[in-house]
């Protein structure tokens, strides 16, 4: 029976494992290439940036760059396909943009936050998302700032708590809704379980909710469409999928939640080629591949005649356990369906192949 199932379900194959000499925080595919980047912190407290090329069944180290501060996160989301500049956030609160071919000095640099930048996301580059290229950073100092690489020193938008209030640690940020030149939202998740949705067009807080546990990762299913779904993962192993199409005046967005494992879900990443499939990575070193199924009717009228969303359902396509340590980062290749890289705290980066994704 399992053999039959195996034939239909996607399988996760661990294609390459590469042991590293430092703690990896983030790994990213370089768009339109077979190269990947690992960002992290060396034992002596410096930042490491390694560029690998997938070469058959092994990873070939092309370049290693050391920077003074440990690098927490990176994104290619706001660069053009030709330039492929990497934007990183480090432990000191610096936002840097690197030309990987000349990484000695950053092409853009700003001390954006007082404390570590936990999360970074970009939009408007790589042909994904209409409008200007922008980078959003979320930091332990409680602020979420939006940057335009063309403007030095000051952010184009800054979302922070009012003075005198206790600052919450922002753990994760994500762009979405960038389907035309005007619309754009930023979603931020905080350590107290708050999720806030900022509308950059109207410069207002569009929606907020609390999922009771620290929000480790948020991601829209696609950044460049009228916002459709948002996945938010939490500290205690639950994740929520919000249907972002219909916002009820009081109830907000409809959601479905699912418990993947007993440990923290560190990351969620949607398959770039199919927005309804996503992978979550867990604190117990496991990966779960999910599929969202839409309900027959995505919205209905409540008793007062207001439109409200209807959440769909989730099905688990596959799960594997790769490590005993948390898998802290996950990235799908934008070019090859099913190719995926993940970095774990056992100081290992793994290239995975997920099969049969196009047959779902």
């Amino acid at each position: 029976m399992s053999a039959v199932l195996g034939a239909e379900r996607p399988q996760v194959v661990s294609h390459v494992q590469q042991a590293l000499s430092y703690t990896v925080f983030d790994c990213k595919w370089v768009p339109r290439s077979a190269r990947l980047l690992c960002l992290g912190s060396a034992a002596r407290g410096t930042g490491v940036l390694q560029l690998y090329e997938l070469n058959g069944a092994r990873l070939q180290l092309l370049r290693e760059i050391e920077k003074p501060k440990p690098i927490k996160c990176g994104t290619f989301g706001a660069t053009s396909l030709q330039q492929r500049y990497l934007a990183t956030g480090d432990f000191d609160g610096n936002l840097n943009i690197w030309n990987l071919e000349a990484p000695e000095i950053p092409v853009y640099s700003v001390k954006g936050h007082k404390e570590i930048i936990n999360s970074i996301d970009g939009v408007g580059g790589l042909g994904i998302g209409e409008g200007a290229p922008e980078i959003v950073t979320g930091s332990r100092d409680g602020t979420v700032k939006v940057w335009d690489p063309r403007q030095n020193d000051i952010p184009v938008a800054n979302m922070e708590s009012v003075q005198g209030e206790s600052k919450r640690d922002c753990w994760t940020v994500a762009f979405g809704n960038a389907y035309n030149l005007e619309e754009r939202v930023v979603c931020a998740g905080y350590d107290n379980g708050d999720i806030k949705l900022f509308d950059l067009k109207t410069m207002s807080l569009r929606w907020e909710t609390n999922i009771k546990n620290g929000v480790c990762s948020v991601e829209f299913d696609r950044k460049d469409i009228n916002m459709n779904k948002l996945v938010a993962t939490s500290l205690e192993g639950k994740f929520h999928v919000f249907d972002m199409r219909t916002q009820h005046p009081t109830k907000g967005f409809a959601y479905v939640s699912e418990k993947a494992q007993k440990s923290t879900i560190w990351q969620v990443r949607h398959l770039p080629q199919n927005r309804d499939i996503f992978m979550t990575s867990g604190g117990s070193g496991s990966l779960h591949l999910w599929k969202y199924e839409y309900p027959a009717q995505r919205s209905k009228k409540d008793s007062e005649g207001c439109e409200m969303g209807v959440a769909g359902s989730l099905s688990l396509l596959q799960n594997v356990t790769l490590s005993t340590q948390p898998i802290s980062s996950l990235d799908w290749s934008p070019d090859k369906t099913g190719l995926c890289v993940c970095g774990a705290y056992d100081q290992t980066v793994r290239v995975l192949i997920v099969t049969k994704l196009n047959k779902i």
Binding site: V162, N180, K196, N228, Q247, R275, D335
Partner: protein, 967 residues
């Protein structure tokens, strides 16, 4: 057992927690138990090993749960990643080889893109939207106020400022709840329910691979939207994908989404596009059949399904549908199939032909209204649109009756209107068939440029000229005969009408007077009678005569087309319809018929049906105007209202033609941008049909031909332009290039020197001239083969240069071709770079580098360096280099460095820079945003320039430039 919440942590004794009797941990119990929750608990107990280790039992329990609920969470086990052993050897190999292929592909791409990099870097950056205004950051003070207001009321620790005004409203609502409700709702509903997504993607400067990736991504988005049931969005994304690269698959998907939206017309169109690209595409055929089924074109639907079945005889879907449709068809029309088809076309013909008269009658009745208000004339009182609707209703009614066999009952239009109601109901099923058409009429009726109005025009004219008895060229006897004929025709006595018209014709011809227009109308009218009688061959003869007398007159063409169609001479009919459409593309009936015949012809002749067509005569652009001129001439003595109406129509038509011309040209330009010169040339050719005088279409087509290496054609186009405009520099330049391509270097050199004579500043022409003269010498000495390769290499360079030159001209000329300007970004700029290599090293090679330099200069406010940059930069290239990046800051630093460093030394250069700066994109915008101080700077520069003197400009020049700078 009753406890619903299943604890996940199994710290304490399981039996205690679940209170499961030990007897339940048994094969028999598990096999019978259907309570999944209970089984899950048992499984947990078993797995925990509290009651001992029973691997077999555990397995059985798992299987049982899987059987009952395959998605149960307890079945989720930690699994290692799959390895080769989990796959068959073939699968494993496939996975690996697929990856390896991708890797090699990627590596190759990498190498390529490295080579391209410098050229394409600048591309999309130029089109970026402005930086989000930092001042739009939320004012923190305001937030504080908001925060204070609501802090007390929030129970969850919300320590972040509330940005949204919505929340304020919410707070206020505590005072007035009802009010709040509506407010908040209004806010939510005010959000655009349908997001505005651009239908086209700007692909300027994208490589083919970029485009492919974008097109695929948009298609994926479309597919996803389709999967989630959002068909409107799916169509949008498919459209976007098509705007980048049109592929059959995407058209096919779009058609499916449109079917879901019941947008039959577009679905049909898309299916046909798929079938154009891939004749015999099963999915497209199936979808087209569905569309036809819904449009009640059962016959065509059946034909499509038969085609599907001929390829895939086992296609059950097609079989089922076929049965369904055949049943429907039979229930609708008890007539046998082929007959039904013939008749249907006939009905439509009648409708088309009579709609005109319906309108004519209506108008007549409106006139009569003064005296006779009794009968159903009230309906006719309705304004144009309604009258049109009525006329249609009636004609439809007539159509229905004609089918029933009683054709001669319409003696009185009022009577017919009474009957109409009933007839309409009867033919309701037909209604939907023609609904689209009717709507088309109604819509165009509003615009008073309707096809129908045009068809009916001669009729109105005729009836009026007869009834009013006022002046036409016709002698009174003939006029009388004609009006009698018209009356008889209207009352349906076609035979008698033919006699009257024949008499009239005889009379007119016997007089021998030259009034071809009237004679043509008489023939045309007689043809209409013949058509009604079903005497198609006579009808065609009369139409031919009418057309001899008045070529390209609309009505006889239409009638001949209908006659040909009913005689199944589809090719001729097609040609006639196409000619009609060339004269006036808005005639819906002709459009529909042409489409219908296209299908028939494809069925008959296969995909190469076009080859069997006789050539379609090209209608001179003047015909349209001519026709209207004739109309207004003869109607000079008619009531003024009609005159105005016609005037309007005339104007509308001119405007329409101009519109269409523009649109076609723009489409052509777009194609040029995309590098699809063949299509572009076609578009321009269509432009020329509309307006032979407009040179740009010719010069642009010449450019396309040059790109396509069709030098002979390019030369011909240039010749044509030069006949009209003997100093068109573009035409000379392109002809020179064409001559060069044709290896007629002498002529080429001549043309280049002419270009230089007109404008000595065209660097490209200078260079070309040098090259050509070299070639001229070379020509004599070198061998043929060598020469050819050389020639070819040069032509490639030429082409880019042609583009370059053109950009400059577009940038400087002020004809309405601004849309072409972005094309410059698409073109890699080898020319300036080459020149820079030759001349100075520091000259910026392209817009991107220039932009970078400017940014650096701006950052340092380094005016001296900016002055250096400006000195080495050719002023003429400024607009190109700046592209759309001109900012206030940039302008200011330019002005300052010109003022402080250049104006003193070389006022001529400063003037040149100022002049070309004003030609840059966004210049006006930037200028408008300058502050007073900044304006003063500009003023100072001008003052400085007016004090110094150079031979490059006069004071007048300076004054006019000052105006441009709004001083």
């Amino acid at each position: 057992m009753g406890d619903e919440s299943v604890p996940y942590f199994l710290g304490e004794g399981t039996t205690k927690t679940y209170q499961i009797p030990i007897s339940h941990l048994d094969y028999k119990f598990i096999e019978k138990c259907t309570d999944v929750k209970h089984l899950e608990k048992i499984l947990r107990v078993l797995r925990s090993g509290e009651e001992g280790c029973y691997p077999e039992l555990t397995l059985v329990c798992e299987k049982r749960i899987e059987h009952l609920d395959p998605r149960s969470r307890v079945l989720r086990k930690d699994k290692p990643p799959a390895t080769a052993s989990d796959f068959t050897a073939g699968e494993w190999q496939a996975i690996n080889s697929e990856l390896m292929n991708w890797l090699t592909e990627m590596n190759e791409d990498d190498r390529k893109s490295q080579l391209l990099r410098t050229d394409i870097l600048n591309e999309r950056q130029d089109n970026l939207p402005p930086i989000r205004c930092s001042s739009s950051c939320p004012p923190t003070n305001q937030n504080k106020i908001l925060q204070n207001k609501q802090r007390s009321k929030k129970n969850i620790p919300r320590d972040y400022s509330e940005w949204d005004k919505f929340d304020v409203e919410k707070e206020c609502s505590k005072i007035d709840e009802d009010c709040e409700e509506s407010n908040s709702k209004a806010r939510f509903f005010s959000r655009p329910s349908l997001p505005i997504i651009e239908k086209k993607i700007d692909t300027t400067g994208m490589t083919k691979r970029d485009k492919m990736i974008i097109a695929t991504r948009e298609k994926e988005k479309g597919n996803e939207a389709f999967a989630s049931g959002d068909y409107v969005e799916a169509v949008t994304y498919y459209t976007r994908s098509i705007s980048v690269i049109p592929t059959a698959a995407v058209y096919n998907n779009k058609a499916q989404a449109e079917i879901k939206l019941q947008d039959w017309d577009n679905a049909l169109e898309d299916c046909e596009k798929v079938l154009d690209m891939e004749p015999g595409n099963i999915k497209a055929l199936m979808r087209r059949a569905t569309v036809h089924n819904h449009l009640q074109n059962y016959q065509t639907a059946i034909e499509d399904l038969n085609k599907v079945l001929s390829v895939e005889p086992e296609n059950t879907m097609a079989k089922k549908k076929l049965l369904e449709i055949e049943k429907k068809q039979k229930s609708l029309k008890p007539v046998s199939e082929p007959q039904g088809k013939g008749k249907k076309i006939l009905i439509q013909e009648i409708e088309d032909a009579e709609s005109g008269e319906g309108r004519g009658e209506n108008i007549e009745e409106c006139e009569r209204r003064g005296g006779d208000k009794s009968s159903g004339a009230a309906a006719a009182r309705a304004a144009g649109q309604r009258a049109m609707g009525n006329a249609h209703g009636k004609s439809r009614g007539k159509g229905g009756k004609a089918q029933d066999g009683d054709k001669h009952k319409h003696k009185d239009s009022a009577e017919s209107r009474l009957k109409k109601g009933a007839a309409e109901k009867k033919s309701e099923k037909h209604l939907s068939d023609h609904e689209g058409e009717v709507n088309g009429y109604l819509r165009s009726g509003d615009k008073s440029e309707s096809a129908e109005a045009e068809i009916s025009e001669p009729h109105r004219e005729e009836t009026r000229s007869a009834g009013g008895g006022s002046s036409t060229a016709l002698p009174p006897t003939a006029a009388k005969l004609k009006s009698e004929g018209n009356e008889l025709f209207k009352s349906g006595q076609f035979g008698e009408a033919v006699l009257k018209y024949s008499e009239a014709i005889e009379y007119v011809t016997s007089l021998g007077e030259q009034s071809p227009d009237d004679l043509s109308i008489l023939y045309s009218n007689r043809a209409a009678c013949y058509l009604k009688e079903g005497n198609c061959s006579d009808c065609i003869q009369d139409c031919n005569r009418a057309l001899e007398l008045q070529p390209f007159s609309l009505k006889p063409l239409l009638r001949r087309a209908m006659a040909n169609e009913s005689m199944e001479r589809y090719r001729q009919a097609y040609i006639d319809y196409k000619t009609v459409l060339q004269i006036d593309s808005s005639i819906q009936a002709a459009n529909d018929s042409a489409n219908r015949i296209t299908k028939t012809l494809i069925d008959q002749d296969g995909p190469s049906w076009r080859e069997k067509l006789p050539p379609i005569p090209v209608v001179p652009a003047a015909v349209q105007l001519h026709r209207w001129d004739g109309g207004s001439l003869t109607s000079e003595n008619k009531p003024s209202t009609i005159d105005i109406n016609r005037e309007e129509q005339l104007q509308m038509n001119c405007e329409e033609a101009v519109e269409k011309f523009k649109r076609l040209k723009n489409e052509g330009n777009d194609f040029v941008k995309m590098g699809e010169y063949e299509e572009a040339a076609n578009k321009y050719s269509e432009c020329m049909k509309l307006n032979t005088e407009e040179c740009t279409a010719y010069t642009n087509r010449a450019l396309c031909y040059l790109k396509l290496y069709k030098y002979e054609e390019a030369k011909r186009d240039c010749d044509h332009v030069l006949q009209i405009e003997d100093s068109n520099i573009k035409a000379f330049y392109r002809r020179a290039l064409a001559y060069k391509g044709l290896q007629n270097y002498q002529a080429s050199a001549d043309d280049f020197s002419k270009v230089l004579l007109i404008d000595p500043n065209v660097l490209e022409a200078q260079k070309e001239l040098e090259e050509v003269t070299q070639l001229l010498h070379f020509d004599g000495s070198a061998g043929a083969g060598n020469q050819q390769t050389h020639g070819k290499k040069i032509t490639i360079q030429e082409v880019t240069e042609a583009d370059e030159q053109e950009e400059r001209q577009f940038a400087t000329s002020e004809d309405a071709e601004t849309r072409r300007v972005p094309a410059e970004e698409a073109v890699p700029k080898p020319v300036p770079r080459r020149s820079s290599e030759k001349l100075r090293v520091s000259e910026p090679p392209n817009a991107y580098d220039f932009g970078q330099m400017i940014n650096a200069l701006n950052a340092n406010k380094d005016k001296a360096a900016c002055a250096d940059l400006l000195t080495v930069t050719d002023p003429k290239t400024l607009p190109v280099l700046l592209s759309n990046k001109l900012e206030g800051e940039t302008l200011l630093i330019f002005i300052q460095s010109l003022e402080h460093y250049i104006a003193g030394k070389d006022p001529g250069l400063a003037y040149q820079h100022l002049f070309y700066l004003s030609k840059a994109e966004r210049f006006k915008v930037v200028l408008a945003l300058l502050s007073k101080n900044e304006k003063n700077e500009v003023q100072q520069l001008f003052d400085l320039l007016s004090k110094s003197w150079s031979d490059q400009y006069s004071l007048e020049d300076l004054e006019s430039l000052k105006k441009v700078y709004e001083l």
